[in-house]
């Protein structure tokens, strides 16, 4: 039997205590950023939950990949073979161009670009929180992921690593309101900053003078400034340029090239020199390659 007049702490006291705790947490997490390491551990702690929550979707994709006709498989295979031939030819060209570029760079006595290590990752979950654009991927410190690592899909830049857990980590997308990335216009090398807008299909470029030569349809690529993202990867395409003389700067919007709303497989880049894979086939989990 429960007592009618229960003693102990009253709800108001509990609420005050809890709200003070929250205020302290918000202050230390947001203003001081003193939970960076703790967040890593917390991420590790909750990753089983994330893996479990992802199980139904995983099952669906498994089923849809298994229930497929022979004819479909054959046509897909044919498609891939054609593409492989095509890419192979391009790669041959690329190696010649790279050699030439390295030779020219050494003639100019500018540093030769180092190789980039790549790692393959799959998306684990997407945040349902509408205020932040983040996704969780299935790689963590065990695989050598570090904070600030650039992430891209097959079309272009997706974002960078925000928090790292042991076996999963969190990616902040370029469309997040707190994210910005240095870019340049591919056509003429003009430098801009692409800030996230909180909307999945829009990046905003602030403080661009009216005289700047930016046109609708221009491709923006990473400029490599700031040292976070390597140079030359596509980021977004300009969709709107409005030069209203009554305003101080022109309004420029662009749309990310990467398909941020339907991500599945992603590549993590790391800047350090690629190491030779010790055993080529036993370490299938981490696909490495030299660019």
């Amino acid at each position: 039997m429960n007592p009618i007049f229960n003693q102990g702490i009253s709800p108001v006291q509990r609420l005050t205590f809890v709200l003070i705790c929250s205020a302290a947490l918000i202050f230390f997490d947001h203003k001081m950023a003193s939970f960076e390491t703790a967040r890593g551990y917390l991420q590790t702690l909750v990753s089983p939950l994330q893996y479990m929550a992802n199980a139904p979707k995983q099952m669906m994709t498994w089923a849809s990949e298994n229930i497929i006709t022979r004819r479909q498989l054959m046509s897909e295979n044919q498609d891939y073979r054609e593409k492989e031939l095509f890419f192979h030819e391009q790669a041959l060209q690329l190696s010649i161009v790279r050699q030439e570029n390295e030779r020219l760079r050494s003639l100019l006595s500018s540093p030769v670009r180092g190789g980039i290590k790549k790692m393959f990752a799959e998306i684990l979950s997407v945040d349902s929180d509408p205020y932040s654009h983040q996704v969780v991927i299935n790689r963590g410190t065990n695989d050598g992921v570090y904070e600030g690592q650039p992430v891209l899909d097959e079309k272009g830049i997706v974002g960078q690593i925000l928090h790292v857990g042991a076996s999963s980590s969190r990616v902040i997308l370029i469309s997040d309101i707190s994210h910005a990335i240095p870019v340049r216009v591919q056509r003429n090398g003009l430098r801009l900053i692409a800030s996230g807008s909180g909307q999945i299909d829009r990046l905003i470029h602030n403080f661009v003078p009216h005289s700047a030569d930016v046109k609708t349809g221009d491709l923006l690529v990473t400029s490599g400034l700031g040292g976070k993202y390597p140079e030359g990867y596509p980021v977004s395409r300009v969709v709107l340029v409005r030069t209203d003389e009554s305003r101080e700067f022109s309004t420029i919007y662009s749309q990310p090239v990467a398909q941020i709303d339907r991500l599945r497989y992603m590549l993590l880049l790391s800047k350090e020199e690629a190491v030779k894979p010790v055993s080529t086939l036993s370490n299938k989990k981490v696909a490495m390659g030299k660019s």
Partner: protein
């Protein structure tokens, strides 16, 4: 908390947490009901001696970690919403299920607005009406969750 099959409560809360992070298509995702809030409100009405504000705060904190928001945002919003239920549980118990659903809707709206205000205070997000879409699904979901959890409580004799 774990006496008299209290573990089942924890299990339902875990399921609610998982339901709130399962991947969904973008169009359905905007309507995702507040699973954790609904389950917490039910247990607060049924067993206020077991589930209190501290439990709600801890659940909100886990939600913060899972969603990657600033720690403490969802925790405080959850605690404030559950506080209202805790203070008025004897009144709310006597309402019919549909009246309760409306109250849960108001709680859910309050929860979303508190989260929005805190986020607005921390970073400059702008308000979009679709941040309140989950309120509709939460109202529709309440009677079903209520009936299901009452069955669970009676079957396992959770006291």
């Amino acid at each position: 908390m774990f006496s008299n099959n209290g573990l089942i409560i924890l299990l339902t809360l875990l399921v609610a947490l998982m339901a709130s992070i399962t991947p969904m298509p973008l169009s359905v995702d905007a309507f995702r009901p507040d699973w954790v809030l609904i389950v917490l409100v039910y247990w607060c009405l049924a067993l206020p001696n077991k589930i209190n504000i501290l439990t709600a705060w801890v659940m909100g904190f886990i939600l913060d970690v899972l969603l990657g928001s600033v720690l403490g945002v969802h925790a405080s919003a959850m605690a404030l919403s559950v506080y209202i239920v805790i203070v008025n549980f004897q009144k709310i118990r006597n309402f019919s299920v549909w009246q309760q659903a409306l109250i849960v809707g108001v709680l859910s709206a309050q929860y979303h607005l508190i989260v929005f205000w805190l986020q607005r205070f921390l970073s400059d997000v702008v308000f979009l009406p679709n941040y309140l879409y989950p309120v509709i699904t939460t109202i529709v979901l309440w009677p079903w969750v209520f009936l299901l959890l009452r069955r669970v409580r009676r079957h396992f004799r959770i006291k």
